[in-house]
């Protein structure tokens, strides 16, 4: 580390793919709380779902001479050049949630999205008792979270007795989740379960079922991200589970390691820390 700023406060740049995903809203809030406890402040940048903007944001962090950078990169490779640039400038970098394809970061704290997809598939298999059919709502085509969650889900489903009726993209969006599900209810009226690759989409799908005369309580439903809204639906019995990746915990651990590194030069014992994603079936 290059020491603390003149007033003694540690300033940490934090960049996430987009605050349009409640997951990152939660992560940001909990990170700010954690930072405050550690005596650090967060300088925050929203990449607005654009890798190029995120790269620029990191360059701006470097230009400001921040003490450390906490980043959840848009894609595994695109941010590697700027991350390495930051490290070369003496700024420690930690990645959270999504990993970057470089060994220069101080630490990665994440929950594997592929593992999360697997967990969701296992939950459905268990609930359906090993047979039945499921509809999958994918995220934005090409987004890494979408690819990984789908990959894990498909992998486990392939070895089970459950049919995946169809897999359509609803772009991580609640309104799209609703319209796509409305359409799919027409085409596949006899489904047993729905997997939404984020909570927004599964909530949209539940609203679609309720509006189309299908009782969501009779279906197995699982989302992803453990947002407050998802817990509200769980409490109502409309949603069965959501995969929790503990964004606050991820950010908190990464911040702790960054601050330790700045203050004492300490490096973490492991450079990759995984928090196992779990299906949660009741509000915390």
């Amino acid at each position: 580390g290059r020491g603390e700023a003149a007033d003694g406060a540690i300033r940490i740049g934090m960049s996430v793919p987009g605050l349009q995903f409640p997951f990152f809203v939660t992560m940001r809030e909990e990170a700010e709380a954690a930072a405050a406890e550690l005596g650090a402040t967060i300088v925050f940048a929203d990449a607005l779902n654009d890798a190029a903007k995120q790269a620029s944001d990191i360059e701006n962090f470097i230009a400001q001479g921040l003490d450390a950078i906490l980043i959840s990169p848009m894609t595994t490779d695109a941010l590697v050049p700027v991350i390495e640039q930051a490290v070369a400038a003496g700024i420690p970098v930690a990645t959270v949630d999504r990993q970057a394809n470089t060994d220069r970061v101080l630490v990665h704290v994440g929950a594997d999205n592929v593992e999360g997809g697997r967990a969701a598939a296992r939950f459905i298999i268990e609930q359906l008792g090993g047979s039945g059919s499921v509809i999958q709502l994918e995220g934005t085509p090409g987004a890494s979270a979408a690819i990984d969650r789908k990959a894990g889900f498909d992998e486990v489903m392939a070895g089970s007795g459950i049919t995946v009726l169809t897999s359509q993209s609803a772009e991580f969006d609640r309104a799209r989740g609703q319209t796509v599900m409305e359409n799919l209810i027409q085409a596949y009226p006899n489904f047993d379960a729905v997997f939404g690759a984020n909570d927004e989409m599964i909530i949209g799908a539940i609203e679609a079922m309720q509006g189309s005369g299908v009782n969501a309580r009779d279906k197995v439903t699982i989302g992803f991200d453990a947002t407050p809204d998802a817990f509200a639906y769980i409490q109502n019995g409309l949603l069965d589970a959501t995969i929790d990746q503990f964004p606050g915990q991820q950010a908190g651990q990464a911040l702790q390691i960054l601050v330790d590194n700045i203050r004492t030069g300490a490096r973490p014992a492991q450079s990759v820390i995984f928090i196992s994603p779990l299906p949660v079936t009741s509000a915390p």
Binding site: T166, Q168, D173, R174, N183, Q186, A187, A232
Partner: protein, 312 residues
């Protein structure tokens, strides 16, 4: 004979293209023509459709409104906030619409009095309204409403989903206003040649402002439908809607340079976008290919319609 085909294509080009798409889908998927699916598609198009009616006014006047998606979000989140705070149904609706009207009024006044081009001012409003939505909501959806408000997006009247009723009424009123009132005729005239309108002793600034107010109003109407339908107002709803809404208007044959077009074309344009999405879902087309198919269909449909333009 040749003339007849030309005449039909000339007047109904996009409508025929739309029918063709429907026929092909009906053949490919037995589900497509089921009553429930038809209601589905129309209900889904109601969000874009209602906004596109307002956008038709704007584009006819020679302008553009990029802020519709963000205004929808702001209006929706404020309605959602009111709903969860226990405000009555009339209060919610009034508040939601008021937000849209105010945003539109701001756009209109900046364009007419501030003399800023519509593209820039509505681009700015797009950013501002989205920011306000995020600030108001803290970035989180506001969810869970009472019965009366839920009716707007989820209710039925004589078996017809209420959003469809709203869409139908909006298109009808839009058509009446455009053809039977001064506001409507001046909208066309301003898009055709604003200088002439001014030199005809008409307060064109007033009417131009009204056009953006209407667009704000229809965005707010869509916001109420969407918020009620989703049972939640979200800070991110409506992103990139401007493109789809403008597309519905332009596909429907309204000229982006103003002065020419109709609200019926817009309705067909909005339905077409919904039908394409619905059809691709029903057919289970690979999401990657969906994008290609959608692009090709839109170009193809308008290609059919171009015969109309050529005749002019």
């Amino acid at each position: 004979m040749k003339l007849d085909v030309k005449h039909i294509l000339k007047t109904y080009g996009i409508f025929l293209a739309f029918l063709l798409i429907c026929i092909i889908l009906a053949i490919l998927s037995p589900v497509f023509l089921r009553w429930n699916n038809i209601l589905n598609v129309i209900r889904q198009s109601s969000i874009y459709g209602v906004m596109a009616v307002g956008m038709t006014f704007v584009i006819l006047s020679g302008g553009i409104d990029l802020s519709v998606g963000s205004v929808l979000a702001l209006s929706g989140i404020i309605a959602a906030g009111a709903a969860t705070a226990g405000v009555g149904i009339f209060g919610i609706v009034a508040l939601g619409l008021l937000v849209g009207v105010l945003c539109g009024l701001f756009n209109g006044l900046m364009i007419t009095l501030g003399k800023i081009t519509p593209f820039v001012i509505t681009l700015g409003m797009m950013s501002i309204a989205r920011g306000l939505t995020l600030i108001y909501s803290g970035g989180r959806p506001i969810s869970g409403f009472e019965g009366a408000f839920r009716f707007i997006g989820g209710g039925f009247i004589l078996g017809i989903p209420f959003p469809i009723v709203i869409l139908a009424v909006t298109v009808l009123i839009g058509w009446l206003v455009l053809t039977q009132t001064r506001l409507g005729r001046y909208t066309y005239a301003i898009g055709g040649n604003e200088e002439t309108v001014k030199l005809s002793g008409i307060n064109s600034n007033f009417y131009k402002t009204m056009v953006y107010v209407i667009s704000g109003l229809t965005s707010a109407m869509s916001a109420l439908i969407l918020t009620s339908r989703l049972n939640s107002g979200g800070p991110n709803v409506g992103q990139a809607y401007e493109l789809d809404v403008i597309a519905a208007v332009v596909i429907g044959g309204t000229s982006l340079s103003g002065g020419r077009g109709s609200v019926w074309g817009t309705l067909v344009g909005a339905l077409m976008i919904s039908v394409i999405n619905n059809g691709m879902n029903l057919l289970g087309i690979n999401p990657f290919f969906q994008l290609v198919v959608k692009g090709v269909i839109i170009i193809g449909a308008v290609f059919l319609d171009r015969l109309r333009d050529q005749a002019n």
